[in-house]
Symmetry: none
Subunit: 214 residues, 2 copies
């Protein structure tokens, strides 16, 4: 925080107060990340909720390829962490004086405590318990499509023309969303990703071994 400034990226210097303010405001439940869209790396991170740090890959995709006239603020969209926490995330493309993308700001808010509190309160209210019918995630294959579609929308890259890294990222999200706990999900994912079942398992294994990663 109060350390030497000469080593810090000017973009970090420029936006750090904003990021820090947001991080302080939202307390321990929000993570604020500043990404470098060129190198696709994390520039700085406040209140990190995972073990990421500056220099780590962003896994954002090439946002800089986006049309300058296009939207600069994305979300809020949903992310799922491995431990079950649910995040509401927003991203914003920050531009320099020449209107070129200079950094990408992401704010990830952990919804879990809010949802728990909300559940406690509404549980108080439930009188003649009506059937919790409306709320089932009827179709898990929809969830698969949702996650993959979200990634495609984020990166602007269709399922064909995806690199190995893209597939790894998507499988990471699917795995975090516990998609593979349901029967017959792996072949469906393979089909949706236009890839063989073997590849899915291979990438998944690579993703889950801490040794092969990083």
């Amino acid at each position: 925080m109060g350390n030497a400034k000469e080593g810090r990226d000017p973009r970090v210097q420029k936006w750090a107060p904003v990021c820090q303010a947001v991080a302080l405001l939202l307390g321990p439940y929000a993570e604020v990340v500043l990404h470098d869209p060129d190198t696709d790396q994390v520039l700085e991170i406040w209140n990190p909720m995972t073990s990421r740090g500056p220099g780590d890959p962003s896994l954002l995709g090439e946002l800089d390829e986006l049309d300058p006239s296009a939207q600069d603020v994305f979300g809020p969209y949903e992310k799922l962490l491995a431990d079950g926490r649910r995040l509401s995330s927003v991203s914003a493309v920050l531009r320099d004086a020449q209107d070129r993308p200079s950094a990408v700001l992401c704010i990830n808010l952990d919804r879990t405590p809010l949802e728990q509190a909300s559940a406690v309160l509404s549980a108080f209210g439930a009188p003649t318990v009506q059937r919790p019918r409306p709320l089932f995630e009827q179709d898990w294959s929809e969830r698969i499509q949702h996650i993959i579609g979200g990634y495609v929308r984020e990166t602007g890259r269709p399922v064909e023309r995806m690199t190995r890294q893209d597939r790894l990222a998507i499988l990471g999200r699917l795995d975090e969303a516990r998609v593979f706990a349901v029967r017959r999900a792996a072949p469906v994912v393979a089909g949706a990703l236009r890839v063989s079942r073997s590849t899915v398992y291979g990438l998944l294994a690579e993703l889950r071994t801490p040794s092969a990663k990083d």
Copy 2:
């Protein structure tokens, strides 16, 4: 509170500490009433939300006619006040040493402030651009507990002492919620229902064959 005791009903003396404790715990939003099931009158009232007082008619109905072996705790059910406030209410039959109904305890909780707070919190959590509500149950074992718990609360019957029909009903709901599409769910359900895996599959088969049904 500190007034003469000679005029007070012994039942009030007996139960007053409990009632007062509940009234204190739930703050200004809960009303605690002690009824006399014989005369159908209010014995005592803490945190009254209407202008009722001791001696007023209870409007409870003849609870004393209940089978001694039947249920002694009712609710929560909904009540509506004239001013629009909604209450969640529970009632309990309090018995004496001879196991005869001696008094009826009612707790009425004003849901309105809780509902408002709940709305605030869920507004925080529900911003995403997603369709209606994909927002539930990351954890399928929680969903199982939720469905079973809901049924127990509805019928007031614990998992032991359940009849075959209860189990059929619960399995129907679980099946509708697609719980059995996830791996290892059946043994978990069997455990939660205090029943063997065989029984689960047996009931499930009975449930899914149109011929054996109705």
